[in-house]
């Protein structure tokens, strides 16, 4: 199964790099937010695959913390944008 | 110390046990202490919200049944978005419709917004009182939305039986 997992991880990482285009050049703040969210999801799946590639269960905890942090960070940035944290 | 505090504390303890993953007495004691501490620190958050989040055992069961039915719709929604995105001509004609709902309370409205978002071609954007603004990817989805399938499902979950 290991070569398959490596292939899946590489595909997901290429997808994350393509998302970087939208995160850098997005016309508004919100496009950047959803691009960062999608990068976070891809990297989360890659982290869980790494737990099986390297046979270390610690990566599952890292993925857990990563998912929670991703959620909290994006909600905080969105809240800030909605209530006028960004100059218009 | 009320029922809600006990409930939240036990939920946090289960979360701690899932994260740490052993049942050593010291670990258990630590979990009980931390759960009590977090419950005490967040009692301001729990004061107003608790009454809104009530859902009986029957409601929870029906929620899972609805989720299982929704899986087919989620699959359809994803294939639809995939077809539209991979088509070189990009065949979309977006429209924003207003949808008036008869549901009361916070939890039913949140669930309705989630169901609308997971259905094919529609995305719940904003709430203004009873009116939801829904963004549709094409006009045909707006007609489908007006058949109120999602609202019927939420009404079925929250059917009163007290």
């Amino acid at each position: 199964m290991n070569p398959f997992f490596v292939g899946v991880s590489l595909t997901l990482l290429i997808g994350a790099f393509i998302c970087l285009y939208r995160a850098i050049l997005g016309p508004t703040l919100f496009e950047r937010i959803i691009a960062v969210n999608l990068i976070g999801t891809n990297v989360l799946v890659v982290l869980i695959l790494m737990a099986y590639l390297f046979k270390q269960a610690v990566y599952l905890d890292v993925a857990f913390a990563y998912a929670l942090l991703n959620f909290v960070a994006i909600i905080a940035v969105t809240r800030c944008a909605e209530t006028g944290g960004e100059p218009k | 110390m009320e029922k809600k505090h006990l409930f939240v504390g036990i939920l946090l303890l289960i979360f701690w046990l899932v994260l740490t993953g052993n049942l050593h007495p010291f670990n258990l004691l630590e979990g009980v202490f931390l759960a009590a501490l977090v419950t005490f620190l967040s009692h301001v958050l729990l004061s107003g919200l608790w009454e809104e989040l009530r859902l009986g055992i029957r409601g929870i069961w029906r929620f899972w049944v609805c989720l299982a039915r929704l899986t087919v719709d989620i699959f359809k929604a994803n294939t639809d978005v995939g077809e539209r995105v991979l088509d070189p001509k990009l065949p979309i004609s977006p429209a924003v419709v207003k949808f008036k709902t008869s549901l009361k309370g916070v939890l039913p409205k949140v669930m309705l917004a989630g169901f609308i978002t997971l259905r094919p071609g529609t995305l719940a954007v904003d709430f203004e009182g009873d009116i939801i603004h829904v963004h549709c990817l094409a006009d045909s989805f707006a007609k489908e939305l007006m058949e109120r399938e999602a609202e019927k499902a939420v009404l079925w979950i929250f059917e009163e039986e007290r």
Partner: protein, 122 residues
Amino acid sequence: MIEVVTNSITVVFLSLGVFFLSIGVIGIIRLPDIYSRLHASTKCDIFGAGLALLGLVVYEGVSFNALKLLVITGLMLTSGLVIGHAVARAARRGGLTPWQEDREELIRLEKEKLLEKFMEEK
């Protein structure tokens, strides 16, 4: 024997999940405005990541790590929905108007065609 079955289920689920996640990425690049990009990102995010994680749960079998993976899956589902709604609401309240197909242009073209037909018949 059982391993062959679970491994093939894992391969199918992971491939489908990666496919839908890639559709989300392509949608974010190609679609014209923030709301239609949210269509692609929210739906494909939830479904793709959910399928991939469920495939790994099948690969893991019945164990403590599988429970942890299931909790992560539930977290992904709820957080994806909440993020989609929060971004859409902030975008609308920030005054972003949705992209519209140029319908007046279409109607004008249609009228010209009708006029030409009419002249030819005359």
